[in-house]
């Protein structure tokens, strides 16, 4: 079965065509600058069997981007998908499992999309477009929040009046679940531990969003993100944890304009806001280490705050997990920036973490074990692959439902 996995951003559409159950990637790429016209033309970077091409094409919306991607694939009969797997950031309170799309699912997706106003609406529009344009193709929806459905009530509860919570649904959801689960499964394989017995702290450190996840017996028991992806670690443009009184003060200063404050905290804070220079922590760490910049103090502070928050949450979650098998680093920063891994684990021998500086610096091919032989808790760098994870879930769902996927009529 060939499953095309879509990962929909606000102005982009990433895709991978994966043959299941062998998990062989047949094609992939990304449509960029989807939406209103920008200074540069919209284009699709498409790759098949190592051959890359870039196609410039107008894509005023995700439905058009999807159609263009399907046309590229349809040039080769061997690349025609049998099913579609969608990534959805937020599953709300009712999606506790990944699902096969039907009318009821579609209605619920539309109902909850404002829970993640940046991430869900374009993805929901894409799902709707796929249904309309390829109605005979099976579609699945894989939610970032599903892995965190096991977070116990004590951890997901905010200390708010019960009636208020019942009325508005305020609770921790947690995000990046697909990635956390994927790398934890890979870690279990690497360590020879049954996934159902794995205790770990997973650090998904992306170039955009980032979160830590505490895992006990293969189940998520906490995640640093909360009701929304704003809470938790300092991220590229998100503030992360912030005194709620400060958020309300900002609201007063903005004359009650909640969207302006959300914009400030989601898009102009974090690494970008604190450094004043870049939203990418790699730039900030490099410039701070370089020492020549005029704003060196501010860059150093930005780097320190970023690293300090990860270290603090790492300690909190290692305490929660108890006897952890491993700490896992993944996604762009976690996989590729040794300095970050070192800075947040060095000196944590008390928690059983003993990083080997040489192995850490040398880790180019992943997965890699970065810990010394005597480290009680293994420190692992594992490349995440959310698309493969989505393909696995989708294949499992479709096989279970025994729904014969139909080949698209050319």
């Amino acid at each position: 079965m060939r499953i095309i996995v879509f990962n929909c951003g606000s102005s982009s559409l990433k895709y991978r065509l994966i043959e299941m159950p062998g998990e062989r990637e047949l094609a992939g790429g990304e449509a960029e600058r989807v939406g209103p016209k920008t200074a540069e033309p919209a284009r699709i970077h498409h790759q098949v069997a190592g051959k890359k091409e870039t196609i410039v094409v107008e894509m005023p919306d995700h439905a058009t981007a999807f159609t263009q991607v399907m046309r590229l694939l349809e040039r080769d009969p061997e690349l025609v998908p049998d099913a579609i797997g969608h990534r959805m950031a937020h599953g709300g309170p009712n999606f506790k499992q990944h699902v096969i799309l039907d009318d009821a699912v579609m209605a619920e997706l539309e109902r909850i999309q404002e829970l993640a106003p940046i991430h869900n609406p374009p993805a929901v529009r894409l799902v709707a477009a796929c249904r309309r344009l390829y109605p005979r193709l099976s579609e699945t929806v894989v939610f970032d929040t599903v892995f965190h459905a096991t977070i116990p009530e004590v951890a997901r509860s905010y200390a708010l009046p019960a009636a208020l919570v019942a009325r508005h649904g305020f609770r921790k959801y947690g995000f990046h679940g697909t990635s956390h689960q994927y790398v934890a499964q890979e870690a279990a394989k690497l360590l020879g531990v049954p996934f159902e017995e794995l205790n770990a702290v997973s650090c998904h450190l992306g170039s955009g969003g980032a979160s830590l996840c505490a895992i006990v017996s293969g189940r998520s028991i906490d995640n640093t993100m909360g009701y929304s992806p704003l809470q938790g670690l300092m991220m590229s443009t998100r503030s992360g944890d912030l005194d709620p009184a400060v958020a309300l003060t900002l609201l007063v200063r903005a004359a009650g304009n909640g969207a302006a404050v959300e914009g400030l905290l989601n898009r102009k804070s974090g690494v970008l806001g604190l450094s004043g220079m870049s939203a990418d922590i790699r730039d900030v760490v490099a410039r701070a280490a370089d020492g020549g910049a005029a704003d060196i103090d501010q860059l150093a502070v930005a780097a320190q705050v970023y690293l300090w928050r990860i270290r603090k949450y790492l300690g909190a979650y290692l305490t929660l997990v108890g006897r952890a098998h491993c700490a896992i680093f993944t996604d762009t920063i976690g996989e590729r920036v040794p300095h970050v891994r070192w800075a947040v684990t060095a000196g944590l021998q008390c928690f059983g973490l003993d990083i080997d500086p040489g192995k850490n610096e040398a880790a180019r091919t992943l997965p890699a074990d970065l810990s010394t032989p005597s480290s009680r808790v293994r420190i692992l760098a594992i490349a995440t692959n959310e698309e493969v994870a989505i393909a696995r879930f989708s294949y499992g769902l479709l096989a279970q439902a025994d729904a014969p996927a139909e080949r698209i009529a050319l």
Binding site: L160, L230, F351
Partner: protein, 349 residues
């Protein structure tokens, strides 16, 4: 020197008189903000004179919650400190206004007597930059004087000092890594290295951090904005709800005290207790990571009598994760009330 300690609160003024270090009288005047601090202090003066604290030999200590960066240590109550209080009034309007009102009343009622101001935030003035900085633009932080503070500095400092003394007596040489847990209406956990705080759970205001008797503690900032917006409360209404109707009382459904929640067998308290202990566990793990391990655990605060409940929940888990040094399993309690801490702090400084 005899000492009179004054602790102005939102609704009442607590006072305590000390003769040669021993507490001779204690009490509170209700409605002191309503009737005016001066009338309340006249009443206090009459009471303490009746127990032998003569006017000519009393040093007055006024407690303040927020002293900002203007008050890195206790200060004499004089024109200079009053001017400094005025300068920080906008940073924490409610708390500083209370301090200013009380300070002027002390000058009037106890004229000519030495008086000092002692603040909970002083201990945290030099909190490391990485800990006190929020991830927003420096311009915004400057405009709002935005940074993290702790709001039980007097307890944390006194308890840490005592633990340090005990450890040194036992031959401990290095600055001890102390997990300091203050059990008060707004509980607070700090990591202290020797005499220096490294982390603290509270934030720019006492709202952030652990859930308290009526304050929510940490929540997603998006929830605060949703309360003000979609829930229709507006910023002031949302703030009032988060400060005064949430926390342990919000979880239980009616007003409760922290010691009730920690010790009560009533099932209605169970969930609030679980949430509080869970957050305390996370904060303790955070502190342990900041310190690189824990040498000593000390409890303080108004509800320090409940320390065993908390210790029995936290310590085995910290130990399991490896965060406790071998000798840290013996937790200690710091039993002095805030009044006594203030009396000693003022003398020491």
């Amino acid at each position: 020197m005899n000492t009179l300690v004054l602790i102005p609160g939102r609704k009442s003024l607590r006072y305590a008189g000390f003769v040669a270090g021993a507490e001779t009288c204690t009490g509170s005047i209700r409605g002191f903000r309503w009737q005016g601090p001066r009338a309340a202090l006249d009443e206090v003066r009459t009471i303490v004179q009746a127990v032998g604290l003569g006017d000519d030999a009393v040093s007055v200590v006024v407690h303040g919650l927020f002293g900002g960066e203007e008050f890195p240590r206790p200060a004499a109550l004089d024109q200079d400190s009053l001017a400094r209080l005025e300068r920080i009034a906008r940073q924490s309007p409610l708390h500083v206004a209370g301090s200013i009102e009380t300070a002027y009343a002390v000058q009037a009622v106890f004229a000519g007597m030495p008086a000092r101001l002692a603040f909970e935030t002083s201990f945290f003035v030099d909190l490391p930059l990485r800990e006190r900085t929020y991830a927003v633009s420096p311009d915004l932080s400057r405009k709002l004087a935005l940074r993290r503070w702790g709001y039980h500095g007097l307890y944390h400092e006194a308890a840490s000092l005592e633990v340090g003394r005990r450890l040194r007596k036992r031959g401990f040489q290095d600055p001890p890594r102390i997990l300091s847990i203050c059990l008060d209406a707004r509980p607070e956990i700090a990591a202290v290295l020797g005499r220096r705080p490294i982390t603290v759970t509270s934030g720019a205001t006492p709202l952030e951090g652990l859930p308290g008797e009526t304050n929510s503690g940490e929540i997603d900032p998006a929830v605060a904005l949703a309360l003000a917006g979609e829930a229709g409360l507006g910023p002031e209404g949302a703030n009032a709800l988060l400060v005064g109707e949430s926390g342990l009382s919000g979880l239980v459904g009616h007003r409760v005290r922290l010691d009730d929640v920690l010790t009560s067998a009533r099932s209605e308290c169970a969930r609030a207790r679980d949430v509080l202990l869970y957050r305390m566990l996370l904060a303790s793990g955070t502190a342990a990571a900041a310190l690189g391990g824990v040498d000593a655990v000390v409890f303080s605060g108004r509800y320090v009598s409940c320390a065993a409940v908390v210790a029995h929940h936290l310590l085995p888990r910290l130990d399991c994760a490896g965060a406790l040094a071998a000798h840290a399993g013996e937790w200690t309690i710091f039993t002095k009330p805030l009044e006594a801490v203030l009396a000693e702090t003022a003398i020491a400084n």
